[in-house]
Amino acid sequence: MRDAVESGLTRVFIAAVFLILSLAGSVRAEAVTVKARPSTVEISSFYQGHEITIIGAIPAGHQAVAEVVGPVGQEHLMRKGRVGPLWLNVGEITVSGAPSLYFALSTTPDLLTGASPWGFQALMQHLSLAGKVHQNEMAKFTEQFLELKKSENLYAVWPGGLKTKPADDGRLEVTGKFWLPANVKPDTYKVCLTAVLDGKAVDQHCSNLSVQMVGFPALLMSLAYEHAALYGILAVVIAILTGFIMGYLFKGGGGH
């Protein structure tokens, strides 16, 4: 009888602890907020990249890391190697687990360097390579992959790139800026802000950054992919007409 009562009390106690913890969790979730401004970027004819501002808030006394991450997928790459005196593509390497875009900013530089859970070192641990690559070359080609993405302006870190100041509600307001490059693909990107205490993540909040193609570029893409034959004919006809018009204009212009 006594055992049954004790067992019941234990269950109630455990349930109460779970309730308190989950409530505390929801309060903490609100302690970190983030949004990208603008939250939607439109790629139109004169798009040449866009400056994005990250605006967020973290609890007072914390540090922060902001990450902008693209969808994770596979990248198919060609490995260059020496064949006699020549450097040629010698085989395919597939990289899995790589986000299409990776930017990271932090309030203090040490959060994105060394063995930190953020930045390139952390990202490398999520990548796996397959194809024409030996086990002892994995680290070298993982680094080469990061170099390639950096050269395309699609991977970058800015240690110390986040600024903080006290907010009215007692928290810390966090701001950071980065340039979204022109070669970024239309997609939905995650902008996440992590509150850090003693080098460990204590809370995180994410919002979306949407990149959409609009206007003439969008029309052209839909023509090229959905009406490929019409697009091909159009490309040829426009080229021929332009050639004739230019020829005719020059004939009229004289000079010979």
């Binding site: 790629i43 139109s44 004819s45 004169f46 798009y47 040449q48 990249g49 990248e75 198919h76 790459l77 060609m78 490995r79 260059k80 190697g81 064949v83 005196p85 020549l86 450097w87 040629l88 593509n89 085989g91 395919e92 390497i93 080609f141 080469q144 992959f145 170099e147 390639l148 050269s151 022109a182 070669n183 693909k185 193609m213 570029p217 969008a218 052209l220 893409m221 090229a224 992919y225 490929a228 034959a229 697009y231 091909g232 004919i233 159009l234 490309a235 040829v236 426009i238 080229a239 021929i240 332009t242 050639g243 004739f244 230019m246 020829g247 020059f250 004939k251 000079g255 010979h256």
Partner: protein
């Protein structure tokens, strides 16, 4: 980036004036020499940040415009041998189809890249060097530029050509040849053009000059005529199968190139055949050296995106 324009198929923003300038230079050479300029434009576009597959396909599209303008200009000047052009074109289409199949087999074997690059270096090197030396000797000896008449002492090659069946007179070029000659040479150029992914003008011009013995001014017009049809086919096929034709990119390039082609066609009439040949030879050799350096120089990054991006 001042005056940048977003190119949706390339997926990047590039300076419009830069593209217009590139188009102008290549178009000028196209009108001057009767070459499509694919062997020049594609590497230049890749250098300014266009993915290689998009560069090659969009380049074909702009060559359609440049060669229409150039062919039209040369047609007005009476420089197009349509009879020869059609025979070369038939050969070129057959050769191009064979070349595409050959590349498919080589890709499956894994050494297509090696074959393509070595073919580039060898072809550009041999043609450039031969044209350069021949033109230099010719200029030093001050031999008259027009070489319409058959050599006084028929060589083994000339006798072989005369012995072939289906002899045909080509009035515009002023030569009598077997119809097999342009057909077979067209196939040869078509195979090489497909392997190298270019219109083949820079191979076709020497073939017409040295093997078909056509006068230089007719060579230029006829070569442009043949390139026009080859590039129409390539543009259409690339648009359907690979979606790599960037119309915006092609339009800017073709505005530059059609303007350039007109200037080129006019200046080509003022220059002597040997001067034209030595200029083309120098450019061909420069491109060859650039490709060779790219092949021998260790790359800074040992990985590249498959298919150019």
């Amino acid at each position: 980036m001042f005056m940048s324009l977003y190119l949706p198929i390339s997926g990047n923003a590039i300076n419009m004036l830069l593209l217009f300038g590139l188009g102008g230079i290549v178009g000028f050479l196209s009108g001057l020499f009767g070459v499509g300029g694919g062997f020049l434009m594609t590497p230049l576009l890749i250098m300014v940040g266009i993915p290689s597959t998009v560069a090659a396909a969009s380049d074909s599209n702009q060559i359609v415009a440049a060669s229409t303008s150039g062919t039209y200009a040369h047609y007005r000047l009476g420089n197009v041998d349509f009879k020869m052009g059609f025979l070369l074109l038939i050969g070129g289409v057959v050769g191009g189809t064979l070349g595409v199949q050959l590349i498919k087999i080589l890709r499956a074997m894994g050494n297509a890249d090696f074959v393509i690059k070595i073919t580039y270096v060898i072809m550009l090197g041999v043609i450039g060097f031969y044209m350069f030396v021949e033109s230099l000797q010719s200029m030093r000896q001050q031999v008259p530029e027009v070489r319409v008449a058959a050599p006084s002492k028929p060589s083994v090659y000339a006798r072989l050509v005369q012995a072939l069946p289906w002899q045909m007179k080509f009035d515009k070029s002023g030569v009598t040849l077997s119809a097999l000659m342009p057909l077979v040479l067209g196939i040869f150029v078509g195979i090489l053009a497909a392997i190298m992914g270019v219109g083949g003008g820079f191979i076709m011009v020497p073939v017409m000059v040295y093997l078909l013995r056509m006068p230089m001014h007719v060579v230029v017009g006829t070569s442009l005529f043949q390139i026009l049809f080859t590039c129409i086919n390539v543009t259409f096929m690339q648009a359907i199968s690979n979606h790599t034709v960037d119309l915006v990119l092609a339009l800017i390039l073709l505005l530059g190139s059609t303007l350039g082609a007109q200037f080129g066609a006019r200046i080509s009439r003022r220059l002597k055949g040997d001067q034209l040949k030595i200029l083309l030879a120098s450019i061909v050799l420069l491109v060859m050296v650039q490709i060779l350096v790219g092949l021998v120089w260790p790359p800074s990054i040992l990985l590249g995106f498959k298919g150019g991006h």
